[in-house]
């Protein structure tokens, strides 16, 4: 049960962190007139945050047993 709670906590953190990373002032940190491979750094940054959010959600959701599944029940009995 504790693990489930932590996973849910992780989801909340990921959501809040994702929002924080997309908003000023954090976004200003990466908003520099630098280009990597010709592409402005901020474009790289935003797409990277985006991709990380997707990957993080996929991982967390995968780790969280589905509702009503056997793993869930085992968890509940523990």
């Amino acid at each position: 049960m504790a693990e489930r709670r932590k996973l849910r906590g992780g989801m909340l953190l990921l959501t809040v962190l994702g929002a924080a990373l997309m908003l000023p002032p954090l976004v200003f940190v990466f908003d520099q007139p630098i280009a990597h491979f010709g592409i402005p750094q901020i474009v790289f940054y935003l797409f990277a945050v985006w991709a990380l959010l997707i990957a993080g959600t996929a991982l967390l959701t995968h780790a969280l047993p589905p509702e009503g599944s056997d793993a869930d029940k085992r968890d509940g009995e523990r």
Partner: protein, 899 residues
């Protein structure tokens, strides 16, 4: 070059393909509930209806005009899906439980099944979505013109038709198509598997088309790096200096609200959801889809700006770039992709809106106008379908008119944001509905209405600036010259982006009204019930899923209602299942409150919660549950707490009662055995004198030759024995009379000391006979108490004789003292006998108590102490056993001294 006829023919052919897909999808989904169509992949793709032609064409234009801003439209929904566990899961669960059909249904159901709120939301949605639909019409029109209109000979049958006519044609075709598609039948759960299948297919097409264009652009442009550096050379740069301002925040917030509240998004994400676990996949797959969609937006925009001639519409880059490079096939594919994104949006949005219109506006009207029990079985279903068809036409007409009036504004994305701002007005209420128990109907209605008014003034009205000089004037000067009411500078808030301005004011007023209003107003009983149903949806053991309609209704009436809405087959199936479950014949079915509740939810799935509630309330007489009952149901948590407290209290009570019972039982057993013992003693004692009386009287009767002396002796024995018997019986009678208070009793002033002295005198012989030493301790002065002198003397005699009788000591001692203490006369009679065992102390004053077994032979009826206590009680005093100065028992008499 592509000809207009070819383009239009392709579009029509594509629509035909979609129709076939939808048709077979529907059939397949019906037959096989485990088919591919029920998979999370199709679910995710159907959510991708979020990416409309706004994305396909508008995002490129937006990127070309204002850099990275287009990303917010996809980052906002990404956040919502990353946090799916907290919001979407709750929505889906509630929707499954409550059979929600739309966002209007959600809010109306939560706020006490209010139909007024549903009507308000439906109206706002229909008006608010009009710009969005106009956007699609504009995009399709522009794209047809872009592919076909670029050459003189390419216009073909479009010759002489301007963009308005073209848009009208597109709108009409879309209306027809949507009607054919979405209103073939009324589904109980408002799930349209066929449509969803077509939408999913379109999602794949539009993604593939945009990716194809993107890859082509990157290929032609010589890689990402080349595109950006070449663009920089001609002065085209992705300018991010002013990107992260209030507008960035606003569009991000609006897109968060839109992904939840847009009618079509609510439809695909919540209503069409067939399995909660599909959300798990969509949570990352949908953001990934959007990421892929946006991946090439920036290169296309930058490349377009670099290579295309000045003045070309950046919204159409995805189409015009391949054509500029002579790739007609790719351009055609891109056209189909853009067409897909537009059609899927229009179809789903107008289906979702038409459901809202028919369920929340038309249905209640029908219910109001037609008395219960009229109309035929098919009536409601076909009426619903007709209502939906008309509302689809209405919705597309509104979209077309908006397009007609604002056709001169050129960019796509700003139009969409106007709709987003309107729809975002629902978001505070939705959040409050899910998480805030105290949010009230009045506050929610007022909040949405107020937000809408601000939207109309600050966002909707200004969009007509270019076509209406009056509006332009209004924007410039304010109404009647009141400058602080200028739509884009309310209360003098000037100089910020108009979108941020409109969103800020409308949402601020909205949220303030909602929170303040909820704090100031009270909820109705139904609201409170629904609030706890919504807020506590994940709480365990929520068996009370609101059977709010209760009372008597015949199965016939209910069946009639169900048949009108669900159609005969489904209604019959429903009733048969119920009859089978309760094990009775379908004709004999007695509708239980649970069944009525289930029926209401089932009906709500077709016509919305408010209408279903009204409809059933009409049939179910005495349907209103008493307020008290509702209140009890309302707060489930409260109820559980109360219940457990009650349980605790009851169990504590039970424990103490059990203890008392145990004590009483022990006492009873003791008394019972005492009584048995006493009875045998009494029988024995009665029997002994009776035997002698009988035998002596028999001798006297039978023999005549008895001398006078002997006869005299016999007679006196008989007399003595009769006296003994009489005394025993007298004592018993005396006690019972005392106990029942039968005897009249006069308390008069008497001298207690005199009574004690007299008792001592009476007992002197007895004391001397046993050789008992009498210790006379401290003695009180003559003291007047209220009582009966003879009776008090009787008590003293009884106590003294008991002390003598039960004393088995070699040197028996009795100690008698009397004092005045705290206004009471207290006399103590103590002895050095065996005393009274602890467990018997409670019993000695009971009737029939005769001391422990060993003492039983001391004679006496065992009534002395009981009588004594009764007497003292009658004199308003007390007789107790107290710890005394000698090893044996010590009895204390306490009587109030007369003043």
């Amino acid at each position: 070059m592509l000809s207009a006829d070819f383009v239009i023919a392709t579009a029509v052919g594509y629509v035909g393909l979609l129709f076939v897909l939808a048709y077979f999808g529907d059939r397949r989904a019906r037959v096989n509930t485990k088919s591919f169509l029920h998979s999370p992949a199709v679910y995710t793709l159907s959510i991708s209806v979020y990416c409309t032609s706004w994305t396909f064409y508008g995002a490129v234009g937006n990127a070309a005009r204002s850099g990275l801003e287009f990303l917010t439209i996809y980052l906002g929904p990404t956040l919502v899906f990353v946090g799916w566990w907290f919001l979407l899961r709750r929505l889906v669960r509630i929707s499954h439980n409550q059979r929600l059909t739309s966002v209007a249904d959600l809010l109306s159901s939560r706020f006490g099944k209010s139909n007024r709120l549903a009507v308000l939301i439906t109206c706002i949605a229909v008006i608010g979505i009009a710009p969005y639909i106009a956007l699609q019409l504009k995009a399709v029109t522009s794209s047809i013109q872009a592919v076909a209109g670029s050459s003189e000979f390419g216009r073909g049958s479009l010759k002489g038709i301007d963009d308005v006519g073209l848009a009208f044609g597109v709108a009409a075709a879309m209306a027809l198509f949507t009607i054919l598609f979405g209103t073939r039948h009324v589904d109980a759960k408002e799930q349209h598997h066929g449509v969803v299948a077509a939408i999913a297919f379109e999602a794949v097409v539009k993604l593939a088309a945009l990716l194809a264009v993107g890859v082509f652009v990157v290929f032609v442009g010589g890689g990402f790096e080349n595109i950006f550096s070449k663009a920089a050379e001609v002065g085209v740069v992705v300018d991010a200096t002013n990107t992260f301002d209030s507008r960035w925040l606003t569009t991000l917030a609006l897109s968060v609200a839109a992904i939840v509240c847009l009618p079509r998004q609510f439809q695909v994400t919540v209503v069409e959801n067939s399995d909660e676990n599909h959300l798990r996949v969509a949570s990352w797959a949908f953001p990934a889809y959007m990421l892929l969609m946006s991946l090439f937006i920036l290169p296309i925009a930058v490349f377009g700006m670099t290579t295309m001639p000045d003045g070309s519409n950046p919204d159409m880059f995805a189409l015009t770039l391949p054509m500029a490079f002579g790739q007609d096939a790719l351009a055609m594919f891109a056209f189909i992709g853009g067409f897909s994104s537009a059609t899927s949006m229009i179809i789903l949005e107008s289906i979702a809106l038409s459901i809202m219109v028919s369920n929340h506006i038309v249905m209640p009207l029908i219910l109001r106008l037609s008395p219960a029990g009229s109309g035929d079985g098919q009536g409601v279903t076909s009426l619903l379908l007709i209502a939906r068809r008309f509302s689809i036409v209405l919705i597309l007409s509104l979209g077309f008119f908006y397009f007609f009036f604002t056709r001169d504004s050129d960019a796509l994305a700003p139009i969409g944001l106007i709709s987003f701002t309107a729809i975002a007005q629902f978001f505070p209420a939705v959040i409050a509905a899910l998480f805030w128990r105290d949010a009230s109907l009045k506050a929610a209605t007022a909040a949405i209405a107020a937000g809408f008014v601000f939207w109309v003034w600050c966002s909707f009205l200004p969009s007509f600036e270019s076509v209406s000089p009056q509006v332009a004037m209004l924007l410039d000067r304010g109404p009647w010259g009141i400058s602080w009411l200028r739509p884009e500078a309310m209360f003098g808030l000037d100089g910020i982006d108009p979108l941020a301005h409109a969103a800020f004011w409308s949402l601020l007023v909205n949220v303030l009204t909602l929170t303040l209003g909820s704090l100031l107003t009270t909820q109705s009983a139904l609201e409170r019930i629904q609030a706890s149903v919504f807020v506590d949806v994940f709480k365990r053991g929520q068996a009370t899923r609101g059977n709010f309609v209760r009372g008597s209704a015949t199965a016939n009436d209910l069946f009639f209602v169900a048949e009108r809405v669900l159609g005969e087959r489904r209604a019959a199936a429903l009733f048969e299942t119920e009859a089978r479950d309760s094990g009775v014949d379908p004709d004999m079915l007695e509708p239980s409150p649970e069944f009525i509740g289930r029926l209401e939810r089932e009906l709500a799935g077709s016509i919305g919660a408010a209408s279903a509630h009204v409809m059933l309330s009409k049939v179910v007489s005495g349907s209103d549950v008493s307020l008290e009952e509702m209140m009890q149901m309302a707060d489930e948590t409260q109820q559980v707490i109360e219940y457990s407290q009650q349980l605790e209290k009851t169990s504590a009570e039970l424990r103490s009662t059990a203890r008392q019972l145990e004590d009483a039982n022990a006492q009873l057993r003791e008394l019972d055995s005492q009584k048995d013992e006493f009875l045998s003693q009494v029988s024995h004692e009665v029997r002994t004198p009776m035997t002698s009386i009988r035998s002596f009287s028999e001798i006297l009767l039978d023999s005549d030759d008895i001398d006078v002396d002997q006869r005299q002796h016999f007679v006196s024995t008989i007399h003595q024995e009769s006296l003994r018997l009489t005394k025993l019986l007298d004592e018993i009678l005396d006690l019972s009379a005392l106990e029942r208070g039968e005897r009249t009793w006069d308390n008069v002033p008497i001298d207690a000391e005199a009574a004690l002295d007299r008792a001592l005198a009476v007992c002197e012989a007895l004391l001397r006979q046993r050789g008992m030493k009498v210790e006379l301790g401290e003695r009180a002065q003559p003291t007047m108490v209220e009582g009966d002198a003879d009776r008090l003397c009787q008590v003293f005699i009884n106590l003294i004789s008991n002390a003598v009788k039960y004393n088995d000591s070699d040197k028996p001692v009795i100690r008698i003292t009397s004092t005045i203490k705290a206004g009471s006369y207290v006399a103590k009679i103590a002895d050095n006998g065996p005393g009274i065992a602890k467990r018997e102390r409670k019993l000695i004053f009971e009737k029939f108590w005769r001391g422990p077994g060993g003492m039983a032979d001391q004679g006496g009826a065992g009534l002395g102490l009981a009588i004594s206590r009764q007497i003292v009680a009658r004199m308003n005093g007390a007789l107790d056993l107290v710890p005394g100065p000698l090893p044996g028992a010590c009895f204390r008499i306490r009587l109030a001294v007369m003043k």
